[in-house]
Every structure is written in C-alpha cells, then in structure tokens.
C-alpha cells in the first residue's frame, strides 16, 4: 500500500497543500457539471429558446434509443437470470476441486431486530453448499452496547454449530478517521475473521471468498455454489470482485408501491450492468477474495459508499488490472419501507441520496489517476467517461426530460411562442417519450416474474398493482433519482459531507421462495 499513499483517501480534508486543493476541486466537479447543465438550460431557454427546444428534442430521441439499448440488455440478462436460477450449481461443481475453498459471510448490523438477523443466517443455513465450508461473521457495533452483542451471541448459540465457524465481532466506537457505518464495521470484521478464523485454522487467504452482505441479505440456495463456480472459472479470481443481482423480495408484498418501483428499478439497472461488465462496479452485497482484501487494505472506513469504493480501491491498487465478474445469480434484500407512507418516502429519499453520493468516487478516481502513471490513458478516459456520464445523467436527464426541457414554452418569449417549433416541441418530444415509456411495460412483465408468489393474505388487487405501479417511473426518476442525486452532489460541492445512514429494516417475512419457471 505504500506505493499507493492515496488509496484510502476519503475526502479533501484528509489531504494538505496542493493535493487538498486538487481533491477539493474534483469534489466540486460533479455538482458543477450537473447544476451548470440545468442552469445553462434555463439560460438558454431565455436567451435562445429555439436551441433549447432542439436540445429537448435531441434528449428525448437519445432517451428513446438509450432505453431500447438498455432494454435489450435487460431482456438478455433476465433470460440468463432465470436459467441461472434453474441451474444446479452444485452439479456444475461436481468435477471441480472446491473442498479447500471457504466462504466468509460478513453480516454487519446496527439496531436491526433479531428476526432480521436470524432470517439471513437461516438462509445461509439452507444453502446447498457444504456448511462446513462457510463461516459466519456477525459484526456488531460497540455503539449499540451490550444489546447488540447479546443479539449476536444469541445467533451464535442458535446457529453456530452448523458452520465452519461463527465469529462475533464488536466494532469499536469512535475510532479516529472513521465514519461510523458499514464500511468501517465490515472492514474491522473481515480483519478479525482473517486473524481469528483463517490464520487460526491455517486457511490460505487465496482460498477464502468474503461475501460482504447487509444484515437483510438473504441468499438463495445455490448462491455459494454459483459464486464458487465463478471464482474457480474466473480468468483471474484474485483480480476480480463478484457481483450478484440484488432483488428486493424479502418484503416486496408488504412494501408500498413507491418502494417496489424504486427497488425493481435498482434491480433492473444492476441486471443491465451484468451484461455491460466493463461498466460494472461493486454494489451493495458483493464478494471478493480475502487475499485481495488483505493486500489492498479492506474497505475504507472513511467513506459512505464503501461498496463501490472497494472496487475503485482495488482498481487503483492493481493499476487498472481489476475487474468485476457478474455472477447473474440473485440475493434478496429488503425493499425500503417504514411504518408510515411519509416515513417510507423519507427513507427512500435518503437511501437514493446515499446512492447518489457515489459521485464522491469521481474525485477519488481522477485524483488517483493523476497520481498513477501506470494505468493507460485510454483506460483512464474510458473509465472516467462512464463514471462522470453516469452521475451527470442520473442527476440531470430526468429533470431535462420531464421539467426543464419544457421551459422554452414558458419563458421563451412571445416570438418563440408563435413559432411552429414551440407548438411542435411537445408533440415531437412526446412521441419519443411515449415510445420509451412502452419499455415500462416490459419492465412490468419482468417484475411480475421476479417477485415471489403472492401470499394468501395479500389481495389480487395488490398483484394487479405490481403491474400498474410502473406508471410512477417518470415521477420516481425526478424525485428519487435526480433530486437526491443533485443534493448529494451539492453536498460534495459545498463540503457538507454526508455521513452513513442506516436503512431501517421493517418486515415480517421469511426466506424468499425460489421462483421456478
């Protein structure tokens, strides 16, 4: 790590001198680009509304073709996902040597109830993979006091005997330089597991695969077999992270419509990225070799987006020679839900703001690219383009398509308003957007095939709403993607850094059923 002194930088305030100034400038960049785009559009709508109108048409057309492009990828991955779920992965391992491989499953928790912890561990327990090759690492926070430790010990007492090992860790509170949250907790837990399990039992680190989960992550029965197969067949397993597909099926029938739409939008996005692996970074629950983690320094304890940041840490550490392997097999998690509707809205907003805060990686990437001359220029440019375009479009495109793009009609002035262009703008843009929105029907169909069977205590009307809910997408794109994304970037711009926010878990469900074809 001495060759990469800036590998674990979290924010500009951790640096000094020119480095600090540069990093600070880079933190401002995503927000400047996004806000500049929107402000520029407003200015253009006043100064030259015709040009603004043409840009709106261009955007609408671009959106249509992008939707088609992504929909094809989604459809393809949907088919692969279904086939993957039907595959007997244990059978696929039959002629491979894997009895020396061990899985560490890290479950960090904060204040979640015992039922949530138990459900997740029970799902591991129900895996078809040999449990004696799986170790559970239940990571508590000291800040929660004895209550958390007791819950962890209770889980260990109930489930510990089935696994290779069951380690309870308690992450110390108030460590200097750390942001309290998942990253610092799982980093501590993984290091402890390395010492207390791998070293103690003499397991080579390159034979250990660490799955970093959330406490509500529930695995499907063949997750570990599938992961093992991908690890063994990867070109360079120690230069790869492994990414499953997050489904949010734990409580999908209990979650409000808004949560369901956003949850599945996230799932679909991850499915699309599985077919575009060159753009894939780790997200939420993912897996990586313990040897790789030990070499590169584990997850950063001083950032919010530790799930994506670990990929960039490893990418920089190995001078660009690092990749993510999509395993096209799901894990299930909780859809965001609170006891009240407004509580859910608030939680959803905060969750998406946290995801939008992944823009903090742009400063990290550019800064480390600057310091690293070993990564090729083409790789740097390609990588940056994907990241910058991704966060810029997330924050601006929905607003341009559904709000700002119509500004010329309102502030374009009398001369513009008498032009044919002003009358035709809504007609032409609507054509493109309406056809693009037809893709929502495709999404709705996929969604209905990915959710678990309707519980008996849920009415048929709820099943119908699972289909109709997709009408909310334009609304969610603006209020739960663009606006929280903009806020996150504004916070980076202004130095009001975001801390980690624990997504509350609220459900009353069991292990998800495996959907059969």
């Amino acid at each position: 790590m001495n060759n990469h002194p800036y590998l674990h930088v979290g924010r500009a305030t951790e640096l000094s001198g020119l480095n600090r100034a540069v990093y600070r400038f880079l933190e401002i960049l995503p927000g400047a680009l996004s806000f500049g785009t929107l402000i520029g559009f407003v200015a253009l709508s006043i100064w030259n509304p015709a040009i603004a109108a043409y840009i709106t048409i261009l955007f609408s057309s671009y959106w249509l073709f992008k939707t088609i492009f992504l929909s094809v990828h989604l459809r393809y991955n949907y088919i692969r996902l279904r086939r993957s779920m039907e595959t007997d992965w244990l059978l696929r391992l039959e002629h491979m040597k894997y009895d020396d491989l061990v899985h560490f499953v890290v479950f960090p928790f904060y204040n979640e109830p015992y039922e949530v912890i138990a459900e997740s561990i029970k799902a591991v327990q129900a895996s078809r993979f040999p449990l004696k090759q799986i170790a559970i690492v239940l990571a508590a926070e000291e800040e929660r006091g004895d209550e958390a430790r007791l819950l962890a010990e209770k889980a260990k007492a109930e489930f510990g005997g089935d696994f290779l090992d069951f380690l309870v860790t308690v992450h110390p509170y108030g460590v200097e330089g750390e942001i309290p949250g998942k990253g610092s907790n799982i980093s501590y837990a993984a290091k402890s597991a390395k010492k207390d399990i791998a070293d103690r039992l003499g397991i080579p680190l390159e034979k250990v695969i660490v799955s970093a989960f959330d406490i509500d992550t529930v695995v499907y029965p063949d997750y570990f077999a599938c992961l093992t197969w991908h690890f063994l067949t990867a070109e360079r397993p120690l230069r790869s992270s492994f990414q499953p597909i997050p489904l949010y099926n734990n409580n999908i029938w209990d979650a409000p419509m808004l949560s369901r739409v956003l949850a599945y939008s996230s799932t679909f996005w991850q499915m699309i990225l599985q077919e575009r692996p060159e753009r894939l970074a780790t997200f939420s629950s993912h897996a990586v070799s313990l040897a790789t983690l030990e070499e590169a320094g584990y997850w950063q304890p001083n950032v919010v987006s530790e799930d994506s940041r670990i990929y960039w840490n490893l990418f920089m550490f190995y001078d660009g020679d690092y990749t993510v392997v999509p395993i096209t097999y799901p894990v299930s998690m909780d859809a965001n839900a609170a006891p009240s509707f407004f509580g859910t809205v608030k939680n959803l907003y905060k969750q998406h703001r946290r995801w939008g805060y992944g823009a903090e990686n742009i400063a990290y990437i550019v800064f480390n690219f600057w310091k690293n001359s070993k990564i090729s220029l083409s790789k740097k440019i390609g990588t940056l383009w994907v990241q910058v375009e991704g966060f810029w479009s997330l924050a601006t495109h929905p607003l341009i398509l559904f709000a700002f793009g119509w500004l010329p009609l309102f502030i374009g002035g009398h001369t513009f308003n008498t032009s044919v262009l002003s009358y035709n703008l809504p007609i032409v843009a609507r054509w493109f957007l309406a056809i693009a929105m037809l893709g929502l029907i495709v999404s709705a169909v996929f969604c209905t095939n990915l959710v678990p069977r309707r519980p008996e205590n849920r009415s048929r009307s709820r099943a119908v709403m699972m289909f109709a809910q997709w009408i909310l997408v334009p609304f969610t794109m603006v209020f739960f993607s663009a606006i929280p994304g903009l806020e996150a970037q504004a916070r980076l711009m202004t130095g009001r850094y975001l801390g980690f926010w624990v997504t509350p878990k609220l459900r009353r469900k069991k292990t998800p059923e495996t959907k059969t074809v």
Binding site: N77, E275, H414, S419, V420, N424
Partner: protein, 284 residues
Amino acid sequence: MKPFSPILRRALFLSLVFLFLVITPAAVFYASGYKLSNLSFVETGGLYISVPISGAVVSINGQDEQVTHLLSRSVYIPDLPPGKYAVDVTAEGYYTWHKNLVVEPKVVTDAGALLIPTDFAAVEILVGIKDSAVASSTRVVSRAEFNTLLDAFKKKPLAVLESEVEKPLEVENGKGLFVENGSVIVRWQKNASSTPSSFCFIPSECAQEIVVKKAGKDKAISAHFFARGVVYATERSGLFFAEIDVRQPQLVVPLYQKRGVDFRIVGGSIIIKEGTRLYTVEGL
C-alpha cells in the same frame, strides 16, 4: 448461458446510433416546420384556433378539420403551406365565426374564436318579488337591486376627456380602450414585441391599434370591454358587441337597436337604460 456477446452488443449499439442519427434530424426538421413535398423540403406554418366550447367544428377552406372536446378546446393544424385560409368555427346555438387568416413559414397564426349565442336577448328588469310568476322576457329584482343598477347610471359614461386623449378608458390584458372622435379604438399598451396576434394582419405585420368602430355618421359615445370583445353605444343605432381583431371579417353583433340608449357593465352584466326602463342582455 453466456453473457451478451460483445460483437452483438457493438452491432446493436452501432445500429441504434445510426437510427438516432437518421431519425433525430428528421424530427428536428419536422418540428421546425419543414415538410417533405415532391422530394424537396417546404417550410410550413400552422394555425391555432382556441375555441371556448367543446363540440364546435373547426373548418379550413370549407373542409372540416377537427371537433373540439372537453379535454382539448383548442385546435392546432400543422403542416400548412404558406397562404390564406378561410377558417370557420361552427357550433349549434351559436353564430358561425369566420376569419381569413394568413399562414407564414415557420410561424403559427393563432386566433380566438368568438362564439356568440344565437338566442341572446335583452330582457326588461322589473322590481318585484323574486321567483314570482312573470314572463320569461323580464327579470325581476328587488327594489334595492334596481336602485343599485340605477345608481350606476348616475356616473357619466366612460368617455375620453379632450385633455386626456392618451389615457385609455379601460385597460385589460395589455389592451387599452379608447373612444376618440366617435371611433372606438383598442391599442396595445405593452411592448411591441409582445403584440398579440389579433393585432396582426399577417404574422409579420402588426399594428398597434385596432379600430373596432370607425366614426362615420353614427358616432360612438361610450364603450366597455366585455367577454373578450367590446360593447359600445352609438348616437343613433344603439348598442353593439364587436370582436377585437384586426383580421377580417370582424364580427359585430347588434345588441339593442334603439336610439339614445345608455349602458353600463354592472356585476359582469350589460345593463341598458332606455328612458326610465332598464334592460339586461341575457345569454351572451
């Protein structure tokens, strides 16, 4: 099943880029008013007719184009070659509104159809008990209401004073109403760049004033804005309701053809005073 082939992905990407590069400029051209005609691009304009009711038929050059409905009472007709168009708006129970409009390239000519019911009438206002059985050609009000209406006539009618020739009698939506030497004139009071289409003979040629009633032998003595038009009284011919639009033909409808009548607008209604009697125009 293997991941999506990079070759196929690239082929898909390039195909969509190609389609984008073909379709988007076509959409931009169309949106700008260009139309493909006989293998060449023609610049077109459009007409936008706003209609106050649903169920009205909008015709262009004698051909029915659209019927207005509840959700859309305005009619936009795009892709019109530049030229003159005879526009009619017809609806049951209303006089036909007719206008000759000029369409210019890349510009939309807009007009608001002024639909006047055929069954409006002046009814006498009487003092009495409300809801008592009276003829439908009268309206019964209380003594207090009648006196209120009478009081309105104690003020002088709106008429320009010689010293205030520049000051309008009324201003509504940027339009100023003037009565000058027996003519009723509506002048645009705001910036010339925002002149509404009703002041424009053709889209590119606009006036700053519309002569609603030209002074001749029969001079106008007072005027008021009313229901998107102007109501004015003349010395000899009585009361009229006229459209505010410089484009021909201009719609003018007689309301009460008696000499020497006076009128006021009270509470949104036209109140006519003929001698000691009061009338109101209903159904307009």
